[in-house]
Structures are given as structure tokens and as C-alpha cells.
């Protein structure tokens, strides 16, 4: 899916680098943030098409970022994929209830992550088109 901009939020620099190589090889433009506060700022300024979000972050956590996103109607439509080293128990349900499109525990399978990104972007685009058509009616 060309020209799509993904924001990778993770405090681990090596993981950001590795993800960016993989995502760029698949045609995505990649933005970065390494803490909860700059993540929110980048989302507000750049309006990425999708966010890959770690939960354990300096300056808050991934749940704080999702909560801030959902306070704003246009930002709440940006799909979020949680990618975390935290345990599944408790965190997966909490993340999905907070509005995440998907939850992955590290280490993730590249193929599964990429197909989930494509699905989330497709769903987001379809919702956007539906929204436009309902407005025109």
C-alpha cells in the first residue's frame, strides 16, 4: 500500500531501526517517536495512517497515548497496533478495549505483523469511504 505513513512508537532504538527497515522495504513511509509525549505530538502534527505502539514508554505508557487519541474524533480513527514485551494476560484485553486494532507480544512474526497492518489500513480506508458517502447522503 504505497504512500502510507506509519508511526512506530517504541523506546527501544534497535527495534525502531529494525522495524523501519522492514516497513520501508514494504513501501511504507516510517515516522518515529520514543516516548508517550512525543508520540502524541507526532500524531497531532503528522496524522499518520497507522500507529505501531509499544506499551511500556517513558513519559506515560501506550494506554495514555490511546486515551489521548480517543479524545479527538479524527485522531480516534487512526488504527493502532500494539506491539509490546509485556505479558498477554491483562494487557491484550485492556488494549483491545482501549481501541487497539490488534495486539502482538514481542517477538512478533514479520509476516503476521505486515498482513495485520494491511488489514487495518484497508478497514480504515473502507470506514473513511463509508463516512464520506454517508455525509454526501
Amino acid at each position: 500500500m504505497p504512500n502510507m505513513r506509519l508511526l512506530v512508537v517504541d523506546d527501544n532504538a534497535a527495534l525502531r531501526k529494525g522495524l523501519s527497515v522492514r516497513l520501508r522495504a514494504n513501501g511504507y513511509e516510517v515516522l518515529f517517536a520514543e516516548d508517550a509525549i512525543s508520540a502524541t505530538a507526532v500524531i497531532l502534527m503528522e496524522r499518520p495512517d497507522l500507529v505501531i505502539l509499544d506499551l511500556g514508554l517513558p513519559g506515560g505508557d501506550g494506554f495514555d497515548v490511546m486515551e489521548r487519541l480517543h479524545r479527538s474524533d479524527p485522531l480516534a480513527k487512526i488504527p493502532v497496533i500494539v506491539l509490546t514485551g509485556r505479558e498477554v494476560a491483562g494487557n491484550r484485553n485492556r488494549a483491545l478495549q482501549a481501541g487497539a486494532a490488534a495486539f502482538f507480544q514481542k517477538p512478533m512474526e514479520d509476516g503476521t505483523l505486515l498482513s495485520t497492518i494491511r488489514s487495518a489500513l484497508n478497514m480504515s480506508r473502507d470506514r473513511s469511504h463509508l463516512g464520506e458517502s454517508s455525509i454526501s447522503c
Partner: protein, 100 residues
């Protein structure tokens, strides 16, 4: 007879669970990087590899998968088992202890 709260034992269990969760988190982040860059090399995203280099990277990725399986089945599992085990124990609300 002096009554003692079971709180220290519960605190120890909570500390151990938190410690295991922290170690699991650290290992999972490190393992994610190893697999990420291993796959980048294997897929030729950082340049073509020789047959020998490809073989070595494949071994590295295979061993990373072994570590992941161990992590999934033991470290994370032990934290869960610890919770199950402590939940199954009917601890008295207070423990009495005689002092000389």
C-alpha cells in the same frame, strides 16, 4: 500469642511475579531485535548474502526460535503457575505464632 499478618508472604509472591514479568519483558525486547535483524539479513534487505552467510543466519534464527519457545513455556508460564499455585492455597487470614 501474637497475630501476624500474612502480608510479607504475599508481598514476596507479588515481587517474584513482578520480577519474572520484568525479565520476560527484557528478554522479549532483546529477542525481537535479534529476530528482526536476522530476518532482514536472511531476506537480503541489507545486501545479498553468500551461501555460507545465509546458513549462519538461518542457524541464528533457528536458535532464536528455540529461545522464544523456552520463554513462552517457562518464564511466562512460571509467573502464571505461581499465581495459580497461590490462588489454590487456602491461606488463613491471620497466622498465629507463639513467642517464647
Amino acid at each position: 500469642m501474637k497475630e501476624l499478618s500474612p502480608q510479607p508472604a504475599q508481598e514476596n509472591q507479588e515481587q517474584l511475579t513482578a520480577h519474572l514479568a520484568k525479565k520476560s519483558h527484557e528478554l522479549r525486547n532483546a529477542l525481537a531485535c535479534i529476530r528482526q535483524f536476522g530476518n532482514i539479513l536472511a531476506d537480503g534487505l541489507a545486501g545479498e548474502l553468500s551461501d555460507e552467510q545465509r546458513e549462519y543466519v538461518a542457524i541464528m534464527l533457528e536458535k532464536a526460535s528455540t529461545i522464544r519457545r523456552v520463554l513462552d513455556s517457562s518464564l511466562d508460564g512460571s509467573a502464571g503457575l505461581l499465581e495459580v499455585a497461590t490462588n489454590k492455597i487456602d491461606r488463613p487470614s491471620k497466622v498465629g505464632m507463639a513467642h517464647a
